[in-house]
Every structure is written in C-alpha cells, then in structure tokens.
Amino acid sequence: MFETLKTNGMRKSFVKSLLYALPMFILTFFLMTGGKPDFSDPSYSLALITAFVLVNILYFLMHYTGKTDRYRVVLFVIFALTLSFSLIRNMIAIRHSMSFSQADILECRIPFCHLVIPMMIIPAAFSKSIIFPGSIINGFANISSMVVLWAVATIVLGRGFCSWGCFYGGWDDAFSRFRRKPVFRNINLIWRWMPFAVLFMVALTAALSLIPTYCDWICPFKAVTEYEQVTSVESAAKAGVFFSIFAGLVVVLPVMTTKRTQCSYLCPLGAINSLSNRITPFTIKIDKAACNECNRCVEVCPVFAITKEDIKNGRVSVFCSKCGKCVDACPRNAIHFGIRGVPAGTMKNFSRNMFLFISFLFMAVFSAGSVVNTLQSIFKLITG
C-alpha cells in the first residue's frame, strides 16, 4: 500500500517541476507583454515583472509540492481583488464615480461581465439582439471577447471555470477560508439546486422583459464593481438588494460555513457551467480501490459537490468546480484529476499536468491584465 501511495504522489523534483513550468513561463511572458515587451515605463515594467514572477512561482509550486488548491486560491483571490480594483479605478477615471447613470446605459458604456451570459442566450437566439448596454467589440470589457473567452473556458473546464476563470469567485473563496471549522453544519443539499432556480427565473424574466434582470436586481458583485445611480425608490431598493446579498452570501455565510455560498446557492452562470461539466474532458475521479471513505473530501469541498453517496458511487456530482481542494486533502490520493473515459486510479499525474496547464493558463490570461494594472497603480502611488 505504501508503494502505491508513493507512486501516486503528485510531488515532483525541483528540476522536473521547473521543466513542467517552463512552457508556462514562455506563454505568460508572451501573453502579458503581447510579444513586444516595452520596459520604458518603470512602474509598468516593475508591475509586469512582479505579476510574471508571482504567476509563475505559483504554477511552479503546484508541481513542486503536488498541491493544487493551496496555490490556486492565492492567484484566484488576487485576481478577484485586483479586478475589482482595476474596474473601480477605470469607472472613477471615466465617470468619476462607481455608479452609472441612465445616460451611460443609453450610450452602451457599461462594462460587460460573464454573469450576463445566461440572460443573453434566449433573446439573442430569438430576436438577434443583445440585452446589455455594453459595447460589442470596442473598449474595456466588451461583450464579444468576454463571451468567446467564457465559451472556450466552459467547454474545456466545465464548472472548473468557477474556480479558475471567474473573476468574482475569489471573493467568497477568500471569505470561506477565514475559519478553519464551520459554525453552520449539516446544510440541506437541496439548496445546491438554487442556482438552477435562479437561472430559470432570470432567463425567463430577461427573455420576456429584454432586461438583464440578474444584473439589474440581484448581482451581489455590483457592490465591488459598479452599480446604478440611486435616483428613485426602485434604484434604492436595487442597491439594498445587492448589498444585502453581497453581505450575506459573499461575506457572512462563507465565513460561517467555510463554503462558497454565492457560487453554490446563487450564481446562474454556475448552473450553466455545471451542465457543461457533463461534456468537459476533465473531471475529478474517485479511485474506490484506494478510498477508505474517511469523508475528508466531503468536509472540505467548498461547493457541496461531494456527498457520501457520491463516494460510494465513485464519482463527484456535476456541481464540482475542480478547485482541487479535495485532491489536496485526500490522505490516500484516492481522489484525483482525471480525463473522461480514462478509468479512475490511472494516469493521475498526466491528467493533473494536463488540467493544471490548461486551467492555470486560463487564469493567467484572465488575471494578468488586472494584476499588472493594479500593481502599477500601487507602485505609482508609492513612488508619487
């Protein structure tokens, strides 16, 4: 048994880890610099180098230590924080405020985010119109580039998008790690289906009203990005709703449950990504021969994706966001990254290396710009 565990270990030697990380060094360098490195601006150069080193050290450590989630979450949280920072900075630079006015809506100046996608599908299919007041191809956070990036990411990663590509997930992921042990336990698993109910409601209401209702009324991340200017009772009610949801589902409940409650109980895009989990090539597998049913994975899973029944059945549910927390926690390497069609317990290293390379590359692509921009702003602030 000891031999089995030893050979199944994900840890690599320093040199081997370096070799595995080398393609990521090259790719991230090209992605961050656009192939034309320009070091004329000192603050930008420093920010670029810092971001490059940070991203690649984290990737190297994933291989070197064999741990996934431990280093994923660092970049994931930095990603969420820096994106909010750069969005707010951008809003303030353009509008001198985090709030947007009716004029901004009419002139399609609202930055697009991937959470709108579930509401766009039906109107786009039937009326060939996009129900979001943003720019389709031009400017900051335009619709077409975001949709394409999301579509590719969700086909390749499935709900892994929620742990590797989503620029909001880092918020409740961060708060879910504040406590080691949860205050609330034994949460009814029926609530896992809530994102599907939200998806149903927002898709229906958006299709019929041609208004992105989730963004208009619910989205908690408006609290850390931008929101409608409060000019009426209705806009005040909207502000009350999204601030309450942010406080409840992104801050308080993750702290109390140690779970990502916004992702698990609200996000309609998470529901779509759960569906795409059925077709994605990468999955989490349970090697029943190695598993001793200690249920450590059930305890640590931040999105309620593994139950005791799932372990008995030898597969995780569609809710899995492939964060790797269960993989890190398993004392027997019985739960691992796998490839669809390949039996559990085999090709563990190969599957993990493939998944890590692709998913980390997505995260690096998504996060690089905001990390560099934020670091540059901080350096400028420090140097005056």
Binding site: M194, A197, M201, L204, E234, A237
Partner: protein, 214 residues
C-alpha cells in the same frame, strides 16, 4: 379593438413574467396531468378576463382620477404582492408541505384550485404600463360596450403567452425539476416581496411628497 389586441400581445410577455414564473413551477410541481393543469390555466385566464372586465367597468365609472393616486396605483398592489410573496416563500421552505400545491400554504386558501384564481387576480391588478394606458383610455373616452370589447381584445392578446404553460406538467416525473420548481417558487416570492416593498415605499413617498407640495 385591434389596438387593444396588439397592446395585449405586446404586454403579454410582461404578464407571463409576473405570473408565469409562478404558474410554471406550480404546474411543474403539481402532480396533476395536463388536463388538470389546463383547467387550472383556464381558471387563471377566466379570472383575468373577469378582472379586466371589472376594471373596464370601474374605469368607466370612476375615470382617470381613480388610478392616478399613489395609494391606489402603488400601495394596494404592493400590499397584495407582499401577502402573496410571503405565501410563496413559506411554501418553498416548508418541509411539511402536504402536496406540491402552493394552496396548502395558507388557511386563507384551502383549495388548491383557487391558486390560479389568486394568481389571475394578482396578475390582472398589478398595473402594467400597457394596461394602465388602456384603463386611462377607457376612463376618458369610448362607451362601456366599447371598453368591454377593448379589454377582451387586450385579454386575448396577452393570454396567448400563457397557453403553453400546462405542458410544463409533463416534466413532473423528474425530482430535480420539481426541486428547482419549488425553489423557483420561493425565489418568485422574494421577487414579489421586493416589488411589494418598493411599491409601498414609492407610494408612501409620493403621498408625502404630495402633502409637502400642498
């Protein structure tokens, strides 16, 4: 009449939003077949027609003034939304619910067949802009018979949107769909609650604003 029909057709989607999102989970969650769901839909539509005809009569007798005060246009629908919303939320979180029917919620509605009636009533009196236009028009011009015809045409146009709803019951065999349906019902309750609160606050603000201006 054609104008009223087109108005109804154009606003039917909004009616479906306000009631369809409750009706659909209701039909999905209900253990009844298509026939029973169809009769529920008929009751819902009949209630709407009745409410519209009643509205047209009221509009004829009381005129435009009846609908422009904040109390009538916002506080009463707001209060109704609130009552309805609480019932829906309680239904969705009540583990002891006897059947899949939201009617089991409240002592006030003991028969589940009355749920479509209540939905029809709430749907009709939740003033959408198109209906408000029609009511205003009816209050200020035309004959009573003409008003009835216009409201019937409006009803026909908006009802088209509801016709596919009973087919949702076909999905009843799936536990997941039922769960999602019940959760969606609770969510609809939350939405109506917020809408109700917003309406009431808006109404009160308008009334206070009016008093201050006077």
């Amino acid at each position: 009449m054609a104008e009223a029909f087109i108005l109804g057709l154009s606003t039917g989607s909004a009616c479906l939003v306000t009631c369809g999102m409750v009706m659909l989970p209701y039909f999905v969650a209900d253990s009844a077949g298509i026939r029973k769901a169809g009769s529920g839909l008929l009751l819902f539509l009949a209630t709407r027609l009745f409410a519209y005809l009643l509205l047209s009569t009221v509009a004829w007798f009381f005129g435009r003034a009846f609908f422009v005060t904040s109390f009538m246009s916002r506080i009463i629908p707001g209060a109704l939304y609130m009552i309805f919303a609480v019932m829906l939320v309680v239904y969705s979180i009540d583990r002891g619910r006897k059947t899949s029917c939201p009617a089991g919620l409240s002592a006030a509605i003991k028969k589940k067949r009355l749920v479509p009636l209540m939905l029809g009533l709430v749907n009709s009196i939740g003033f959408c802009p198109a209906l408000f236009i029609l009511v205003t028009r009816s209050a200020t011009q035309g004959t009573l018979a003409g008003n009835y015809l216009a409201f019937t045409a409006f009803f026909a146009g908006s009802s088209i949107w509801f016709l596919p709803l009973p087919l949702a019951g076909k999905l009843k065999g799936k536990e997941v769909i039922r769960t999602v349906g019940i959760l969606a019902t609770g969510l609809a309750g939350v939405i109506f609650m917020i809408k109700g609160i917003t309406n009431i606050i808006g109404g009160i603000t308008n009334i206070i604003g009016g008093i201050i201006n006077v």
